[in-house]
Symmetry: C2
């Protein structure tokens, strides 16, 4: 048994100061009922790669960690290629799931002083001496890194990588984009002792099973089921229609009990 | 922010030795896909009350802690009356949700040597010097306590209380039964410094909101939504029919991805 115990005191203090009220003032843009989602991975300073993503989805709502579903398993596949079995940490641009796209309104939201200042404080705490690369995935994440003063030193050292988001479309473009970065990231990031580096490029085409990696159970809180992070496990109930995956699998309907989670 | 970090090393070692294979050999009696559920509450030796329940349900599958839904909020109401704000620990007779009732077959399962020995080892580890009362709720839990050699000393000291299960029927009988134990349990268990003891009996009738208490967020793993443990949040999808609560609330369908969780 290995699991993630939650944030250590220094990060906990930052999480406790998160600008949740700013999000809560925008109920039409954020799925507030599912609550904030802060991270996945190592918060103890051992991370060698800092990944910045966009926002959580249904799988993340269930797991209470970010980047664990489709997008997360693609990112995990990339980390596996780099030989990073555990030495990574991930945060998102948005603490809550968003409605719609990362449009000008949401971009402006990320620039609200209290939102930006808090995020920069968190990035500064996470980008400690062990961080060898920062991967900004998607335009929202790239904006976050662009507006973070602390990024300058990493950029100067060639350690910031602006990449397509794992679920950008069309899928083959993501793999193509990631291929252009593989060698450069690999040159900056050392593999973990228990990692198996393989920087061979992704084959062309859409994502296939071999491109993905399961999320390690150690990234979830205690008690997660063994299959968590091994596939696409959650979907929103929309218009009362039960999707096929829910008819095929043993399924629980999980209902939010309040407007703010 | 206060949350449950998972088991400390001594308890973790016991959890790692759980007889999961014995459960997995009985797929018709246990909902294996949702995985084992070990506990709720304090595992660090600070618990003053040890509660033994029966088996987890859908709410517990989501929370990955036991006694958090209907039954749990009734138990929490009882703990609140006793002034126990935090000093409790709970385990179940069965690590997995059961199909059907606690019938002779399942009673026999609890007596399988490897199942019973492991459970007794866990109870021994939890029933340390701070434990002032053991509450066995329901016939399954009572059988567990009856077959645990370590219970003898607690029984001799009048510290074992055999009570109806929180969701036994009819509901008024549960409150009536619990009323008969309130004063005696209160005589054995000291209230927490931040507890508000009120041993006034439950009013007659079915459970009402005032009889319940929310599950403290500190009993969940990091990242639980604020409303977790405040009501009935989860239900199984049966025959593809969406229940009313799922139509009324923002709902996620959570699908098990394997036969064993």
């Amino acid at each position: 048994m290995e699991w993630d115990p939650g944030p250590p005191p220094n990060i906990r203090t930052i999480f406790e100061a998160a600008p949740l009220a700013a999000y809560q003032a925008k109920p039409k843009r954020f799925r507030l009922e599912w609550g904030p989602h802060y991270y996945r991975g190592r918060l103890d300073g051992s991370a060698k790669a800092l990944i910045v993503g966009q926002d959580p989805a249904a799988d993340e709502n269930v797991a209470r960690r970010i980047l664990v579903g489709d997008a997360g398993q693609r990112v995990q596949g990339l980390l596996q290629k780099l030989g990073l079995a555990r030495s990574y940490v991930m945060v998102n641009t948005s603490l809550y799931c968003i409605y719609g796209q990362f449009d000008p309104e949401l971009k402006a939201f990320t620039d609200v002083p209290e939102v930006a200042q808090w995020r920069n404080q968190l990035l500064a705490a996470l980008a400690g001496p062990n961080i060898q690369a920062i991967l900004a995935m998607g335009q929202a994440a790239q904006h976050v890194v662009d507006t973070w003063p602390g990024a300058a030193a990493f950029t100067a050292a060639g350690r910031v990588f602006k990449m397509l988001h794992p679920t950008a479309r069309p899928e083959p473009s993501v793999k193509k984009d990631w291929n252009t970065h593989l060698a450069a990231i690999g040159a900056k990031v050392t593999a973990d002792a228990d990692g198996h580096r393989d920087l061979s490029p992704y084959p062309t085409g859409s994502f296939i099973q071999q491109d993905l990696a399961d999320i390690p159970l150690r990234d979830f809180g205690f008690g997660a089921p063994a299959w968590m992070g091994t596939g696409n496990m959650a979907t929103r109930l929309q218009a009362g229609k039960v999707p096929t995956m829910a008819k095929k699998n043993s399924t629980i309907l999980w209902c939010a009990l309040d407007k703010q989670g």
